[in-house]
Symmetry: C2
Subunit: 351 residues, 2 copies
């Protein structure tokens, strides 16, 4: 009987160990995006899918689109407060609450996508991001790059600085502040009303994303001048993870989560690269009148000057922001030399 008891105890031990390792962890992720907003929300879906497959169902992440939680720009607050374990958004959406989070998305005249990934993963960028987000008790990881965003759609060609004076343009955020310094009348219009506003001449120009997302909006049908990018050379989306939720996961699931986010981010960059190429091919086939333009040097120089002034003003207010911007600037000096002699000079002869 004693032997049987021991056997039973041994059995229960084995069974309980087995059950412990099979425990299912369920996380909830809130995203800024609507449920079908490719490529942005694809990054969230893909990370969840990979995590579930790799963990054999032990890690399940439910992705809620903005129509579910009704708070597209409140992702940081919801993850911080624990209503959600995770978030997928863009860091610059809460620059009003914490200005130091701004540069983790993209800065005007800043790093390109490969340069920025190198900064994040090889030159201390990720550590700086964790440091900035530590006060919010969340962890933050790259969530997918849009690559270069376009400068926007204009009804008329912009030839001189004077052409910008009084021009009514929808361009939000930091880029909008730069444009305002150049005399642009910056307005804010809800996305759903943009096409009509442009069509009825209530605005003269607007900035959206790039061909992959612009094509559905239809701006190219009424504003034929498509300006190349300067203000968001590599907008990086972002995963947020509540620190307590993360700490509850066993080590293997923590690694599965981190790797899933990392590869989903890279994959979004690649997906959007292809979507841009495909959408642009379609746009110019259907509307051959579209003209790709680059702002003249006079305007670029004025933008760069305004950008510097704004950065200096903000840095004076936040030493933490200054630390992040300085880190990017130092890296830029080194990495851009390599980009020039590799990608740039290669493309120059093969365009």
């Amino acid at each position: 009987m004693k032997f049987l008891l021991k056997l039973a105890l041994l059995f229960s031990l084995v069974i309980s160990t087995s059950f412990a390792s099979e425990k299912v962890y369920k996380l909830k992720m809130a995203t800024t995006w609507g449920p079908t907003l490719s490529p942005l929300i694809d990054s969230a879906y893909n990370a969840a899918k990979m995590a579930e497959k790799m963990s054999n169902g032990r890690l399940q992440i439910r992705v809620d689109a903005s129509n579910k939680h009704k708070s597209p720009l409140g992702i940081l607050d919801m993850v911080k407060g624990g209503q959600y374990d995770m978030g997928h958004s863009a860091s610059y959406y809460w620059k009003g609450k914490d200005i130091a989070t701004l540069p983790f998305t993209s800065m005007p005249f800043g790093l390109t996508a490969p340069e920025q990934y190198a900064w994040f993963y090889q030159a201390g960028g990720l550590e700086l991001m964790q440091k900035v987000y530590a006060k919010h008790k969340v962890m933050s990881f790259p969530g997918g790059s849009t690559g270069v965003q376009m400068g926007g759609w204009f009804r008329k060609e912009i030839k001189t600085l004077d052409d910008l004076k009084g021009l009514k343009m929808r361009i939000p955020g930091f880029a909008g502040e730069i444009m305002a310094k150049l005399g642009v009348q910056v307005t804010n219009i809800a996305p759903g009303e943009l096409y009509t506003a442009l069509d009825r001449n209530n605005i003269d120009a607007l900035e959206w994303v790039g061909p992959s997302m612009d094509i559905k909006m239809g701006f190219h049908k009424i504003a034929p001048f498509y300006y190349t990018g300067w203000h968001e050379p590599a907008s990086e989306m972002q995963f947020l993870v509540n620190k307590k939720s993360f700490a509850k996961l066993p080590a293997d699931l923590q690694e599965i989560l981190i790797v899933s986010m990392r590869v989903a981010a890279y994959d979004m960059y690649v997906e959007n690269y292809d979507m841009n190429a495909t959408a642009w091919e379609k746009m110019r086939a259907e509307y051959p009148g579209i003209q790709v333009k680059t702002f003249p040097k006079e305007i670029m120089d004025a933008m760069k000057k305004a950008n510097k002034e704004l950065r200096t003003e903000l840095s004076a207010k936040s030493p933490e922001l200054k630390e992040v911007l300085d880190s990017q600037d130092v890296y830029m000096k080194k990495v851009r030399e390599w980009t020039k002699m590799s990608d740039y000079l290669y493309l120059k002869d093969n365009i």
Copy 2:
């Protein structure tokens, strides 16, 4: 008694299930590289490390460097034959055995790294690669991009096509065949003897990789003209997996393996981008006499012409190669337009 028997059976079932899921799978991976050849071998090490952590030790991959198996260029054969379950190498090393594998590494005047990843993952490239490798009974996955490789180190500046006639240069593979068509005397010299050969004027020029790997070789100390890249704009390394070894893994470990390889590949691209920037900064600080040069248009045009001729010759021999090259050409037409208006025009104003 019948009840006890049933209970015992139930227990054994639970235990055997538990043991099955805890079974450790051990795979061996052979690489072309020496044990410290960063960044190339890092991709293999990183994939193995992530797989082990994510599987909680259930998937263990032993990475053998070339000093162990003594067959750096025999990776495909060893994985095909089952001596190794996996390999990490570059597809163009066995173009002599299967010419259709050539374009999965990089082609002269071909796709850049983001363009090529978009081709692999969004435009059928990966499926084509699996199709080409199916006859070898192995699966093949991207294993990390070097980005743009440099055109090489030259003792004298190359100003005209005549300067290439009779020039002794170490440049292997397809690029070497192009150079031979331009009158270059292409030679093959073992890596360990390259520095001495260049120093003693036995050769006038050589092609290696890029700053990240060239810096240790020291060529910049004796051949100051560093030519920009044209022949390998995004050399993609490669993971190989024996199909039988893969089939033996449970579904969760298969997913863990595939995701580990995918993220290790992207990470290598990013690691090398940073290594190039860092090495180049050091090189030009210590040897300010280095001059970065681009081949003049006359030479570029001749290279492009020779490249086309060689591709036509080879495609006539292998319909399978032609299918891969055609797929890349079709994608190039679409994607390069986007690269031009995004990265290229952005960099043009920010160099």
